[in-house]
Symmetry: C2
Subunit: 217 residues, 2 copies
C-alpha cells in the first residue's frame, strides 16, 4: 500500500518484513513520553503492584490496546520510567564536567541533582522506591546505567579532591554519600513550605563541600 | 469461668469486658517481633502490594488466623514495620547525645545510622520504599515520630555547629542531608563487597564533618 521512493545512490530495497523506519517517529516518542509521565504518576499514587496499564490508559483517555503500540507490558513501562530517570540524570553531567572552576563545578553538580529530583517528584519517587520491582530482563541494562552514573560522579569528586576543593578519603564512598544526600530531597523537600530548590541546592552544596581544605570563611 | 483473685488493698474488680492485662506479655511481644521481621522480609521480596498475610503466616509455619491475635490486617503490619524502624532509630539517639566530645558525638551518630540500616536491610528497605503505602489511620503517628527523629538530629547538628565542630548554614537542611547520606547506604552497601559497616561509617563521618571550621589534617 505504501509508495516506495527509490532515491538514486541509496539502497532502494529493504529486506522483506523489516520495518521501514528503524528510528521511532517524533510523534511516537512524544506520545511515549506522555505514557511514561502518566505511568510514573499512577505508580506513585497506587503503588507499582496495584497500579495497572488500564489506569494509565484511562488517565490518558486511551484504550488499553493503544498502549501496546508503545510498550509490551507493565514491566516494560517500569523499565522506561527507570531509563527516563537515569537518562535525565546523566544528561547534564557532561556539561557540568566542563565547568573549570572546581567550586562552581561542585555547586552545579548539587544544583543539578536537587533541581532534577524536585522537578519531577513522581518520576523519582517511583525510580527510588521500586528498584526491587524491576523485572530481571531489564535489570542488567538499568544496573549498567546506574554504574555509569556512580562512576561519573566518582570521577568528578576525585577531580575535586585532586584540585583541593574536597578532601575525601574514598571517592566512591563520597559519591554514594553525595548522591544519597541530594537524592533524599525526594523524601522531604516540599516546594510549598521549603525554600526554593535553588536555595536548598546552595545550602546542600555548602554542606557538600566536605572537609574543604581551605577555610572558606 | 475465670477464677478471680481478690488481692486485699488492690482494686479487686475490673470493668466488665476489659482485658485483664493492659500490657502484652513478653511472649506476645517476642512473637509479634518475629511477625514484624518476617513481614519485612516478605514485603521486601514480593513488594508490599503483592505480599500477603498468607505469605507471612506460611513463612512462620502458622495458620493465617493465628496472626490476628497480633494484628488486625496487612496495613497494621506495615505500620508495625514503620514503628519498629523508627523506634530502633530513636533508641540510641539519647545515649549519643550524652557523648561530650563533639567529634566523637558526630562519629557515633554516623556509625549509629549506617550500622542500623545495614544491620537490617529488609526492615529499612520496606520502611524507606513504602512510605506512600502507609494507611491514613497510621500516617499521623508515624509522621509524628519522623518529625521527632528529624528534630533530634537537627538539635544535635545545631549543638555541633555551636561547639565549632560543624559549620552549617541551616541545621534542619543539614539534618536532612545527613539523614539522606547515611540512610542511602540501604541502596548500595553490600557487606560482601564493601568495607565493613564500621569502615563505611568512619568514611562517611569524615565526609559528614562538613565544612569543619578547624583543619583536621
Amino acid at each position: 500500500m505504501s509508495t516506495q521512493r527509490a532515491d538514486s545512490g541509496a539502497p532502494a530495497r529493504r529486506p522483506v518484513g523489516r520495518p521501514r523506519q528503524t528510528e521511532p517517529s517524533e510523534d511516537h516518542l512524544r506520545r511515549l513520553g506522555e505514557i511514561i509521565e502518566t505511568g510514573a504518576r499512577v505508580f506513585h499514587e497506587h503503588g507499582y503492584d496495584s497500579g495497572t496499564l488500564e489506569d494509565v490508559a484511562t488517565a490518558l483517555d486511551l484504550r488499553r490496546a493503544s498502549l501496546y503500540h508503545y510498550l509490551r507490558n507493565k514491566a516494560q513501562l517500569l523499565y522506561f520510567i527507570f531509563d527516563r530517570a537515569l537518562t535525565t540524570s546523566l544528561f547534564r553531567l557532561d556539561e557540568i564536567a566542563q565547568i573549570t572552576a572546581p567550586h562552581e563545578r561542585l555547586t552545579a553538580l548539587v544544583a543539578h541533582q536537587v533541581q532534577m529530583v524536585s522537578g519531577d517528584p513522581s518520576l523519582f519517587a517511583v525510580f527510588f522506591d521500586n528498584r526491587p520491582r524491576l523485572d530481571g530482563i531489564f535489570q542488567e541494562r538499568i544496573a549498567g546505567k546506574e554504574r555509569e552514573y556512580v562512576c561519573r560522579v566518582t570521577d568528578m569528586i576525585a577531580a575535586l579532591s585532586e584540585s583541593g576543593e574536597l578532601d575525601v578519603v574514598d571517592a566512591t564512598y563520597a559519591a554514594h554519600a553525595f548522591i544519597g544526600m541530594t537524592s533524599w530531597t525526594y523524601k522531604w523537600f516540599d516546594p510549598a513550605v521549603d525554600a526554593s530548590a535553588d536555595t536548598v541546592a546552595t545550602m546542600l552544596s555548602l554542606i557538600g563541600a566536605t572537609g574543604r581544605r581551605t577555610d572558606s570563611r
